[in-house]
């Protein structure tokens, strides 16, 4: 028998002739019903929102210093170049930034910023557009795609990420509900990269960005 057959046979033997007696075997429909029931009453097992609406909650969560995130509210995509320039200047960075192929970032090139698509291994700053934001945790989610290189979120020292206000979901579950069909790679990013591996002491910027700046785009 193959390893697969052996393992499945051992599991079935354990379930039907186990030490604690046989577990009743269920049909796929019964299993699905039981799995769904385990998600009932979601409010009982998740935290109460940090604000009156998802956008307010998201902003409140990003304000948590433990996350290592800064946030700017940007009044529409047209105001993005100015916000990016201001951020780079405030960190004494040159007006250069790596961009993904997302068309909404095209306007950056014309606004006094030098943009490039090939990200360098030690890139100082890059900007991506997130598919979603999650209010419960202050996370942003990126999905791999032709215009969404995952490495742009991981290699730079400063990662800027634009997300539209109406893409902010209240809870982790709301994002999970949108998970099928699954993208090849979905990365839920909550704050800057960090480690506590040396004596439990938190250090920012372990392998990924040491600075994450969220640009919350309103309509």
């Amino acid at each position: 028998m193959s390893a697969r057959d052996d393992i499945l046979a051992a599991i079935r033997a354990g379930l039907t002739h186990g030490r604690d007696g046989a577990l009743p075997r269920q049909t796929p429909a019964q299993i699905a019903a039981e799995a769904a029931a385990l998600l009932a009453d979601p409010d009982e097992i998740r935290p109460v929102p940090a604000g009156p609406d998802p956008v307010a909650s998201f902003i409140a969560k990003c304000a948590n210093p433990a996350l290592g995130v800064t946030l700017d509210r940007v009044p529409g995509w047209a105001a993005l170049p100015q916000a990016v320039m201001a951020y780079l200047a405030s960190h004494d960075l040159a007006p250069r930034i790596a961009v993904s192929a997302d068309a909404r970032l095209d306007a950056l090139a014309g606004a006094g910023l030098e943009t490039h698509r090939d990200i360098a291994p030690l890139e100082p700053a890059a900007i991506s557009v997130a598919q979603w934001g999650i209010a419960e945790t202050g996370s942003v989610v990126i999905h791999s795609a032709p215009d969404q290189p995952i490495l742009n979120a991981m290699l730079p020292r400063h990662w800027l990420v634009a997300v539209e206000e109406d893409r902010i979901l209240p809870f982790l579950d709301d994002y999970a509900a949108l998970a099928a069909p699954a993208p090849r790679n979905a990365v839920m990013i909550t704050g800057s990269s960090g480690t506590t591996d040396i004596e439990g002491y938190f250090v920012r910027g372990a392998h990924g960005p040491g600075f994450v700046h969220v640009l919350l785009i309103s309509r």
């Binding site: 097992i45 099928a180 699954a182 040396i198």
Partner: protein, 468 residues
């Protein structure tokens, strides 16, 4: 790992003041942060109960979910492999690496990788293995094994790490504070991430209905290990299955709070198959190795509930024994209370029979476990098996046999205690410091001297007086 040496290892660990300092610094912080996270989440107890129920549901239908996961992962373009044991799993990974012509392999920390002996297998295959988790990088430089499942280098103080980095990093760190050393590791590892041919990660969850694997990290090393290389290999225990992404989120809430005290990890990443047409980056091949290594058998024995474990490490952070001796003294891949239950499964009870006994039964581990594993009960089950399988030392066996004989005969037992009490009282008043034939026990402990009369005698006397 010869467990005959457990007592020696524990003894050595207790004498190591540097180790004690290192453990105290990290477990102390972990305990405080977890407590704060739980206080800030009043729904925690309900979420724990639900998490336990989700895991029980998966285990009761494990065959169903594994097949669904395999189907969906395959449909997404991943190649699914099955391994009965550690050797088979390590051989599959080595073969995939050699098929890919791999020279450099980056690894994102996975305890299952340690369990199946992946570091050795890759070294033996002549592949350059780069551990990318900061703690794993530290222990790779020190040629050690992890001593904790969340903080593998917990046994190392900042000063130890500085010594290692100054010796091995070129150029060396700018200073010996934690931030400078993290920056130095970032520099050294960045080149490796981009040069690797294969990236190997574990999985915190295998999502049955999408075929995705989920990995959580705080450093971002998983994404950097799994995105640039041509091949991504995931090794995961078969118990990591969850029905859906939604169920994964429910478990994530209790996992992270219990492990680090955060609400969610900095990076929670779902991988579903290899690079798709037009994708800007990502691996060309994705392999998933589903590892049994004793787990299927646990479905049918008294250790089934141990399959709930989501590897948060809270049980060891709160364990009075772990906090005295650290992880290496346990001798297995997994230390602390969860390790004392799992190591006999993985390495055999004869090799690890001391572990279930190295427990005070104070129950802290059960109180903090996010999936409510009855760890005390499971440790007692191993103690029972140790007896049933004749693995208890002869003097203890005979002694207990003798006691058992007397205990079944109340008159004999009472006569014995009546005779023993005055004898014991000859050796001390208040406390007995030395006792013939019991030197092993009294060397490190004092025995309270017994009362003049046994409980039964006093009880009989009181009953008589009450009747007068």
């Amino acid at each position: 790992m010869a467990d005959a040496a457990f007592k020696t290892r524990a003894h050595d660990a207790l004498a190591d003041a540097n180790l004690k300092t290192a453990i105290d610094r990290t477990t102390g912080t972990a305990e405080t942060k977890r407590a704060a996270a739980v206080d800030a989440f009043p729904e925690f107890q309900a979420a724990r109960a639900r998490a336990a129920a989700i895991k029980d549901h998966v285990i009761a239908n494990l065959d169903h979910y594994l097949i669904a996961f395999e189907q969906n992962a395959t449909a997404a373009g991943a190649q699914v492999h099955w391994a009965r044991d550690a050797a088979e799993a390590a051989a599959i990974v080595s073969r995939i690496c050699s098929d890919a012509g791999a020279k450099i392999v980056t690894r994102a920390k996975s305890m299952l990788g340690e369990e199946i002996g992946l570091p050795h297998a890759l070294d033996d295959a002549g592949i350059e293995r780069v551990e990318t988790d900061l703690a794993e990088h530290i222990i790779q430089l020190a040629h050690e094994r992890p001593s904790h499942i969340i903080w593998p280098a917990m046994h190392r103080t900042r000063e130890d790490v500085a010594a290692l980095f100054f010796k091995d990093h070129h150029p060396p760190p700018d200073a010996d504070d934690a931030a400078s050393m993290v920056a130095s590791a970032r520099r050294v590892l960045r080149e490796k991430f981009l040069a690797a041919d294969v990236g190997i990660s574990g999985a915190n969850f295998l999502v049955a209905d999408t075929g995705a694997t989920c990995t959580v990290t705080n450093e971002g090393n998983a994404e950097l290990s799994t995105t640039p290389p041509r091949v991504h290999i995931v090794t995961a225990g078969i118990e990591k299955i969850v029905p859906s992404t939604d169920h994964a989120m429910a478990l994530l809430r209790v996992l992270v709070r219990s492990a680090t005290g955060g609400e969610v990890t900095q990076y929670t990443t779902f991988h579903c198959g290899p690079r798709r047409a037009g994708d800007a980056d990502g691996p060309e091949e994705m392999h998933i190795v589903l590892v049994d290594n004793g787990r299927a058998r646990m479905v049918g024995d008294e250790f089934r509930q141990m399959l709930r474990c989501i590897r948060c490490g809270a049980c060891m952070n709160h364990c009075v024994v772990y906090r005295q001796i650290g992880g290496h003294a346990y001798g297995g891949t997994y230390p602390g209370p969860m390790g004392a239950v799992l190591t006999p499964v993985l390495d055999g009870l004869a090799q690890s029979r001391d572990l279930p006994h190295a427990c005070t039964m104070n129950g802290r581990c059960e109180e903090v476990c996010p999936v409510r594993i009855p760890l005390k009960t499971l440790l007692k089950a191993w103690r029972l098996r140790t007896w049933d399988e004749g693995l208890v030392e002869k003097p203890v066996r005979y002694g207990l046999g003798l006691w058992g004989f007397a205990a079944c005969r109340p008159r004999l037992y009472r006569m014995g205690t009546r005779m023993a009490l005055p004898v014991l009282r000859l050796f001390g008043r208040g406390w007995i410091r030395k006792l013939p034939l019991a030197g092993g026990w009294t060397a490190t402990r004092d025995l309270p001297a017994p009362a003049a009369r046994s409980f039964m005698d006093q009880y009989e006397r009181q009953q008589k007086e009450a009747r007068k």
